[in-house]
């Protein structure tokens, strides 16, 4: 296991997302899947995005690659991807399709949750990896095959020559995910987006995959955006954490800050709802009261109104505000209740 990197983020971010809004215009109404998200991805660091299903974590990263299909639309936001010297930047939101092709799979790669469905079943593993290489790097077919073989060795697969000729269904779940990682990294991307990469795997295979990602990050120096609902996986891999709820980031900061000193009630309840080593046998776990509102019926104003016992009418319209509690540790507060500190969802309690 690689030791945790707890350095300060002195370097400027590699990818800076500001006020990203992705809405889905469905027949039932507008779903604000991502509603004003800010992200900073630092070079050679791992950003963990954690939240429950429907909180917008996957849509956020799909928006970064502009992979949003209709009826979805990115309606606002900038996504600045900087170069190594941090002098020039491109805003992914405004790129044309040929520029976008270079970013997708070139500077930003993605690995998906289900390695079975994300490989083509009718092409060999080798075909699919070399396709990525020839598209993004100036390699001949022969060089591409050599590089693909080299990458399969780097991700710890035995017998790479034979693997290249195999189809995805001939590999086990863990091997498939390794092949997926090899395919994503063979173009030397600056950012790797991993969308629940270990959810479909057994714990032991999950541990191997996480160790592999950590190891490859040390060697290759790419940044990782790790999306998961598993708080344990985040604790193993991430340097910074963003906690999302209903399309908004409710708390963000370093792993230590967010896990050890959570301020927002939602973060606290999320952290307390998983059994830990300290939980006694058959002890009831604390749970978040209330239910998650339906996507089209999300409250305006404060996200937590359905869970709030207060009766401040301003909460219906007042926009939530983000307050920097300490350096790099941001918390979402209910706007109207912030000054008086009266709301039950005022993060510091009443």
């Amino acid at each position: 296991m690689v030791t945790k990197k707890q350095k300060e983020n002195i370097e400027p971010p590699l990818l800076e997302v500001r006020d990203l809004q992705t809405y889905f215009y469905t027949a039932d109404g507008i779903v604000k899947a991502v509603d004003g998200v800010d992200l900073n991805v630092y070079p050679k660091k791992t950003l963990g995005i954690v939240g429950e299903s429907g909180c917008g974590k996957s849509i956020t990263t799909k928006s970064i690659l502009r992979l949003i299909d209709r009826p979805g639309r990115i309606i606002n936001g900038t996504m600045n991807l900087y170069d190594e010297t941090h002098e020039k930047s491109q805003d992914i939101a405004t790129l044309n399709s040929s520029e976008l092709k270079k970013v997708r799979g070139g500077r930003i790669s993605m690995i998906f949750q289900e390695p079975m469905t994300s490989f083509s079943p009718i092409h060999t593993i080798g075909n699919q990896i070399t396709e990525a290489i020839t598209l993004h790097l100036d390699h001949t077919k022969k060089e591409a095959i050599e590089l693909a073989e080299d990458w399969l060795i780097r991700v710890g697969m035995n017998n790479p020559k034979q693997r290249l000729k195999q189809f995805a269904f001939e590999l086990s779940g863990g091997q498939r995910q390794r092949a997926m990682i090899a395919m994503a990294l063979c173009t030397n991307p600056d950012v790797l987006i991993a969308d629940e990469p270990t959810t479909a795997l057994d714990v032991t295979t999950q541990a191997q995959t996480l160790d592999l990602l950590n190891e490859l990050q040390e060697k290759n120096g790419m940044s990782i955006i790790m999306i998961t609902h598993d708080l344990g996986v985040i604790a193993e891999l991430a340097d910074d954490v963003n906690v999302m709820y209903l399309g908004k980031v409710v708390e963000s900061g370093s792993l230590q800050e967010v896990y050890k000193n959570p301020i927002h009630p939602y973060t606290k309840s999320l952290l307390s709802s998983i059994p830990s080593l300290a939980t006694k046998h058959r002890e009831r776990l604390p749970i978040l009261q209330g239910t998650i509102p339906h996507p089209v019926a999300r409250p305006s104003g404060c996200n937590f109104q359905p869970n709030c016992k207060g009766d401040n009418p301003e909460c219906l319209n007042g926009e939530p505000i983000i307050i920097e509690e300490s350096a790099g540790h941001n918390v979402l507060y209910c706007g109207p209740c912030y000054k008086e500190h009266k709301c039950a969802w005022y993060p510091r309690g009443v």
Binding site: L231, K260, L285
Partner: protein, 348 residues
């Protein structure tokens, strides 16, 4: 449950030497070319009102065991006794018609709450179907029972006319639980009941299962690959590897005093949510062997630095080391304690 006092046996289910082999055939004539030992000589009891956890990686046979208990599949060999007020019934040997009256005592909660509910049936139909099939013809009677069940699992009675698509994953899992409870079963097999749910909803469903157990005296067989949840809810845990029990004991014995290297590996692979946690991960086993290659001998041969000739053929021993805590030993290595997979090797 008033009938309980009449029953002498404390175990609702006793499983003795359960085996389930699948034959592999090849060629036009379907010649048997090998066997997959999905479940190989597994024995354990499910005490009344307690929870037994089954953990292990995919393919280790945990779902096969639960299906054998419910006789969704027929075991190859072994006995499964269900003890009720009429005495012991061997589920493994009973005919389909003799089995039918016993089926209502065993129910199942499924992993995926999205595919286990019929989208064309409303909640009343879903929850009352087991009642209808078991002779409750009166509609008002069924309606009252469904109402009672929905309230019991934390849903509102007026949801009865709605269809599954109107509910979230956690609510659907509650519907599945209500359906399982409809016939007052004594045993509920929970096959990965929370693995498709979010963490906060997971906690709600686990809490509900524990509350219902306290209230109704249910026994659970809890199948999961999530070890931290199994530790939380179970009274006894069986760790499985390729059809065999590797270690069996209380949660404390499995998590804090585990002896078998495989159990240690499995536990050290769980991601810990504490960022300060310094982990000493046990080496992970190499590629899992092809199930058809597993011979009758030791399961861990491919990871053994110096396997002996006898190791490939002699059946491993599952020995009770201390009361209630059993461990799988490689038989030829048991006496001289030499094998790397001899579970006590490290502590000695």
């Amino acid at each position: 449950m008033t009938t309980k006092s009449k029953i002498k046996n404390d175990n609702i289910v006793e499983i003795n030497n359960l085996k389930k082999y699948y034959s592999l055939t090849s060629g036009l004539l379907k010649k048997v070319s090998g066997q997959i030992r999905a479940v190989d000589d597994v024995s354990f009891n499910i005490p009344r009102g307690k929870t037994i956890g089954l953990v292990g990686e995919s393919g280790c046979g945990k779902t096969t065991i639960s299906k054998c208990i419910l006789r969704a599949i027929d075991p190859t060999d072994g006995d499964i006794f269900l003890n009720n007020e009429d005495g012991a019934h061997n589920l493994a040997k009973l005919s389909e018609s003799d089995l039918r009256p016993l089926r209502k005592e065993m129910q199942m909660i499924f992993q995926d709450p999205f595919s286990s509910l019929n989208p064309r049936m409303n909640l009343f139909d879903i929850v009352s179907e087991p009642l209808l099939l078991n002779g409750v013809k009166n509609r008002t009677e069924r309606q009252d029972r469904v109402e009672e069940l929905l309230v019991k699992v934390g849903l509102r009675a007026e949801y009865m006319i709605r269809f599954p698509h109107a509910f979230s994953g956690g609510q659907r899992q509650r519907i599945g639980i209500a359906r399982a409870l409809a016939l007052n079963p004594a045993l509920i097999v929970c096959d990965e009941p929370v693995s498709g749910l979010d963490v906060s909803v997971q906690a709600q469903v686990i809490n509900l299962l524990m509350d219902l157990q306290d209230e109704l005296g249910l026994s659970y067989l809890f199948v999961s690959h999530d070890l931290s949840i199994v530790r939380q809810i179970s009274d006894q845990i069986n760790v499985m590897y390729f059809g065999r029990q590797v270690e069996s004991g209380t949660p404390d014995e499995i998590f804090n005093q585990s002896m078998h290297p495989y159990t240690k590996t499995l536990i050290s692979a769980i991601p810990n949510p504490d960022p300060d946690f310094k982990k000493e991960r046990q080496p992970i086993l190499g590629d899992t062997p092809n199930p058809s290659d597993i011979a009758s001998g030791c399961n861990f041969l491919s990871n053994c630095p110096e396997p002996k000739e006898e190791c490939t053929t002699s059946t491993p021993l599952f020995i009770e080391d201390s009361p209630g805590h059993s461990i799988l030993y490689c038989a030829p290595c048991y006496d001289d304690h030499k094998c790397a997979w001899y579970p006590r090797n490290e502590s000695q």
